[in-house]
C-alpha cells in the first residue's frame, strides 16, 4: 500500500474519530492503593507463589555461594552474567563462560543455560521485577532465550504496588523494559499449570541487603 493511501487512511480515521467523539469526561487519578506492613515479605510470598525462587543475601558477594545450591546453576554448562562480580565461583573455575559482548546476533544466545540479570526494583503486590533494557546488555533476548534466569534486586528497592512502580519508572526512549514475575508458564493444556513455557524454566531472585 502506498504511503499516500496510508496518509489518507490516517486522515479518514482521525476525522471519523472526531466526528464520532463522545462527550468529554475527566481523566481520573488512580485510587489510593494497598500498602503492606512488610513489603519485602509480601514480595517474597508473591514471587514464590508465581513459581519463583526467593533468596535473601546480605551482599552481592554472597550470591555465588547461594547459586551453587541451585540445581539449574550447577547443571548449567553455559552461563552468562550481566552483573560484575556475580557468577564467578570461588573455586576459580569461572562459571560465566559466555562473553555477551562478543555475540553478533541474538540467535547466538541459543544454548544459554543460565543468565544473571539486574532488576531495578520489585513490586510487592505481584512479585514483579522491573528490568530496564539497559540492564539486558547488547542482546536483549537474553532474558527469554536463557533456560534459567536469576534476577538480582536491591532489598531497599521494593515498592508496594504498581502505581508506585510507574511513579518511578523512567522509560529509556528509544528503549525497552519489562516486568518479569517468575518463570515462564502456561496452563493452556486442560488448565494444568506447567512452569516453563517458551521463556525461562525457572526464575530465582536474590534480594540483596
Amino acid at each position: 500500500m502506498s504511503s499516500r493511501v496510508e496518509a489518507s487512511g490516517r486522515d479518514a480515521i482521525l476525522a471519523s474519530l472526531r466526528r464520532n467523539a463522545p462527550p468529554a469526561s475527566p481523566l481520573p487519578e488512580a485510587p489510593a492503593a494497598i500498602v503492606y506492613d512488610d513489603p519485602e515479605k509480601q514480595f517474597a510470598e508473591t514471587f514464590t507463589s508465581v513459581g519463583g525462587r526467593f533468596v535473601c543475601v546480605a551482599s552481592l558477594a554472597d550470591i555465588d555461594a547461594k547459586l551453587e545450591k541451585l540445581e539449574p546453576y550447577t547443571q548449567a554448562r553455559k552461563v552468562a552474567s550481566l552483573i560484575p562480580g556475580v557468577g564467578r565461583t570461588i573455586a576459580g573455575v569461572g562459571r560465566t563462560n559466555v562473553d555477551l559482548a562478543a555475540l553478533k546476533d541474538p540467535h547466538e544466545l541459543e544454548g544459554l543455560d543460565f543468565a544473571i540479570i539486574a532488576g531495578e526494583f520489585g513490586v510487592a503486590e505481584n512479585g514483579a521485577v522491573w528490568v530496564a533494557g539497559s540492564a539486558l546488555g547488547p542482546q536483549r533476548a537474553i532474558f527469554v532465550v536463557t533456560q534459567h534466569l536469576a534476577l538480582v534486586v536491591p532489598a531497599d528497592q521494593i515498592v508496594h504496588n504498581m502505581h508506585q512502580a510507574y511513579d518511578r519508572i523512567r522509560f529509556e526512549r528509544p528503549g525497552f523494559g519489562l516486568f518479569i514475575s517468575g518463570p515462564s508458564k502456561t496452563a493452556d493444556i486442560e488448565q494444568a499449570l506447567v512452569i516453563g513455557a517458551h521463556g525461562a524454566r525457572s526464575c530465582a531472585l536474590f534480594l540483596v541487603g
Binding site: M1, R19, P26, H107, A128, P174, A187, G196
Partner: protein
C-alpha cells in the same frame, strides 16, 4: 440461519463434556475472585479504569496523534488501516518488501478479526502462532474458542493425539508437562528461524509513544527479540493517555483474566531492537462507527481479559464455537452483531441477562444492559424473525386488555389439564421438552381476590 441456540444445543446435550468445560472456566472465575478479594480498592480500580477509558475515547484522535508523534521520536513506524483489507495489505507489504517468508505471531484478536493468517499464507508467508493454545488450534485448523484460553475446549488427550501426529510425541501421551516440553522445542525452532515477529498490543501509551504486551509464556518476547522486524497491530481503542494509567489496567488485567496478580512478562516497547525495525499498525475496522453509538460505545473499553466469558453461565455450557465469532461470550455477543447484525442476530439473545458479566468486567462495561438494548435494535431493524414479532404483538394485544388477559388465562387453566399429555408436551412446546409446565390452578389470584373484595377470606 444457524444461530447460537442451534450450536449450543449439542454442546449442552453432551452433559459430561459440558460440565467439564463449565467447571474449568468456573475455576478461573474463582481464581479471579480470590485475587480481587486481596485488593481492598478493587471496586475503585474498576471505577478508575472505566473512567480512564471513557475519557480516552472522548479525545481519542488527540491521543492517537500524540502517540504517533512520540512513537516516531522513538524510531517506531506508525501505519493506519481503515479496515481489515488495509490492515492485511500493510502487514503483507512490510513483510514482502523485506523478502520475509517466516513470521511468528503472538496473540492478537485483531489479526483474527482481520483474518490475517490466511491472507498471508495465500501469499507464501508461513505464519506460526506461538501462544501454546493458539498453536494447538492452528495445528488442528480450527479457531480459538476463548480469547485468553484458546484451547479450553480440548482435553489433554485431544492435544496428545494432535502432538503425536504433528510433533511426533509418544502415542497416547497426554501429560501436560510432557506435551508442553514438546511444544517448547518445536516452537523454539520456529522462533530461531523466524524473520519477523507480530504481536498484538495490550496497551499503547500516548504520552511516551510506546506500547505494552503481556504474556505468561514469553512467546511475544521471544518472537520480537530474535528476528529484527516487529509488527504490532492494535485497534485504536487500546490507547491510554499516560504511563501511570498502566498502573490501573495492569492491576486489573491478569487478575480478571486468569486470576494471577500479573502475567510473567509485561513488556514495554519504546523503539526497535538495535539494527531492527518496529512497526505499529493502528486499525479502525468499524470501531469508530461504534464510538458514535451512545448505547454501545462502552464496549470499546474492553481490554480483552475474558473474565466475562469465564463467569457467563451460558458461555461455560455452550462453548466459544457456539457464538461463531472470534470473540465469543458476552462481549463477543455485542462486538459481533455490531459488526454484522444479520449474521450475528442470535447472539444478544444467547443470554439470560443475569448480569454476572457486568459485575466482573474490569472496565465496568454494562454488558448485559447493552445486550438488552441490542435486542431492541435488532427488532427495530427487523432483524428478528417476523413470527417472533407477531407472537409478541398478539401477547401485547391480550395483555393490554384486562378482560382478554383474564379470559385467556382462564381458558388456559381450564384447557391444559384436560388435554392428553402427549398433546400438551408435543414438539410445539419447547418449554416442555425437559420441564413440566407450571401448575394450572382452578382459580387465579384475581379470582381469589374477588372473595377478598367481598370481604370473604380468600382460600
Amino acid at each position: 440461519m444457524i444461530g447460537h441456540a442451534e450450536k449450543a444445543a449439542p454442546f449442552a446435550a453432551n452433559e459430561p463434556r459440558a460440565h467439564w468445560h463449565d467447571q474449568a472456566l468456573w475455576f478461573v472465575r474463582l481464581k479471579r475472585d480470590r485475587q480481587a478479594e486481596s485488593i481492598p480498592e478493587w471496586e475503585a480500580l474498576r471505577e478508575a479504569a472505566a473512567a480512564i477509558k471513557a475519557h480516552t475515547l472522548s479525545r481519542i484522535a488527540d491521543y492517537l496523534e500524540e502517540f504517533e508523534r512520540n512513537a516516531h521520536a522513538n524510531g517506531i513506524q506508525v501505519h493506519w488501516a481503515r479496515d481489515a483489507a488495509e490492515h492485511n495489505a500493510i502487514v503483507h507489504r512490510i513483510l514482502a518488501d523485506r523478502g520475509i517468508t517466516r513470521l511468528v505471531k503472538s496473540k492478537s484478536m485483531l489479526t483474527e478479526e482481520c483474518h490475517l493468517n490466511p491472507y498471508l499464507e495465500a501469499r507464501g508467508i508461513e505464519v506460526t502462532d506461538t501462544d501454546l493454545g493458539e498453536r494447538i488450534v492452528q495445528l488442528r485448523h480450527e479457531p480459538p474458542s476463548h480469547i485468553v484460553l484458546p484451547a479450553i475446549h480440548l482435553k489433554k488427550e485431544d492435544i496428545g493425539e494432535l502432538f503425536h501426529k504433528e510433533l511426533g510425541t509418544a502415542k497416547d501421551a497426554s501429560d501436560p508437562k510432557y506435551l508442553t516440553e514438546a511444544a517448547r522445542a518445536h516452537l523454539r525452532q520456529k522462533f530461531m528461524a523466524a524473520q519477523a515477529g507480530l504481536t498484538g498490543v495490550n496497551f499503547a501509551i500516548a504520552e511516551t509513544g510506546g506500547f505494552v504486551v503481556c504474556t505468561n509464556e514469553g512467546n511475544a518476547d521471544m518472537g520480537t527479540s530474535l528476528p529484527p522486524v516487529h509488527i504490532a497491530c492494535m485497534g485504536f481503542e487500546k490507547i491510554v493517555p499516560r504511563a501511570k494509567d498502566l498502573g490501573v489496567f495492569l492491576r486489573l488485567l491478569a487478575r480478571s483474566a486468569t486470576g494471577q496478580p500479573v502475567t510473567t512478562y509485561t513488556t514495554h516497547f519504546h523503539g526497535p531492537m538495535r539494527g531492527g525495525e518496529l512497526h505499529v499498525v493502528i486499525v479502525d475496522n468499524g470501531r469508530s462507527a461504534i464510538l458514535g453509538q451512545e448505547t454501545f460505545r462502552r464496549s470499546l473499553s474492553c481490554i480483552r481479559c475474558g473474565a466475562c466469558m469465564n463467569t457467563c453461565p451460558v458461555f461455560r455450557r455452550s462453548g466459544g464455537y457456539s457464538y461463531g465469532y472470534i470473540v465469543p461470550g458476552p462481549i463477543g455477543s455485542l462486538l459481533a452483531p455490531l459488526r454484522d447484525p444479520s449474521q450475528f442476530a442470535s447472539l444478544p439473545f444467547a443470554s439470560s441477562l443475569c448480569g454476572s458479566c457486568s459485575d466482573v468486567c474490569p472496565v465496568r462495561i454494562d454488558l448485559h444492559h447493552e445486550l438488552y438494548a441490542f435486542r431492541q435494535k435488532l427488532v427495530e431493524n427487523k432483524t428478528v424473525p417476523l413470527f417472533k414479532r407477531m407472537a409478541m404483538a398478539v401477547m401485547t394485544y391480550v395483555l393490554a386488555r384486562t378482560w382478554a388477559y383474564s379470559l385467556a388465562g382462564r381458558l388456559m387453566r381450564w384447557t391444559m389439564p384436560r388435554l392428553p399429555r402427549a398433546l400438551v408436551y408435543g414438539p410445539w412446546n419447547p418449554w416442555g421438552r425437559q420441564r413440566e409446565l407450571p401448575p394450572m390452578p382452578r382459580q387465579s389470584f384475581r379470582d381469589l381476590m374477588k372473595h377478598d373484595l367481598n370481604n370473604e377470606e380468600p382460600k
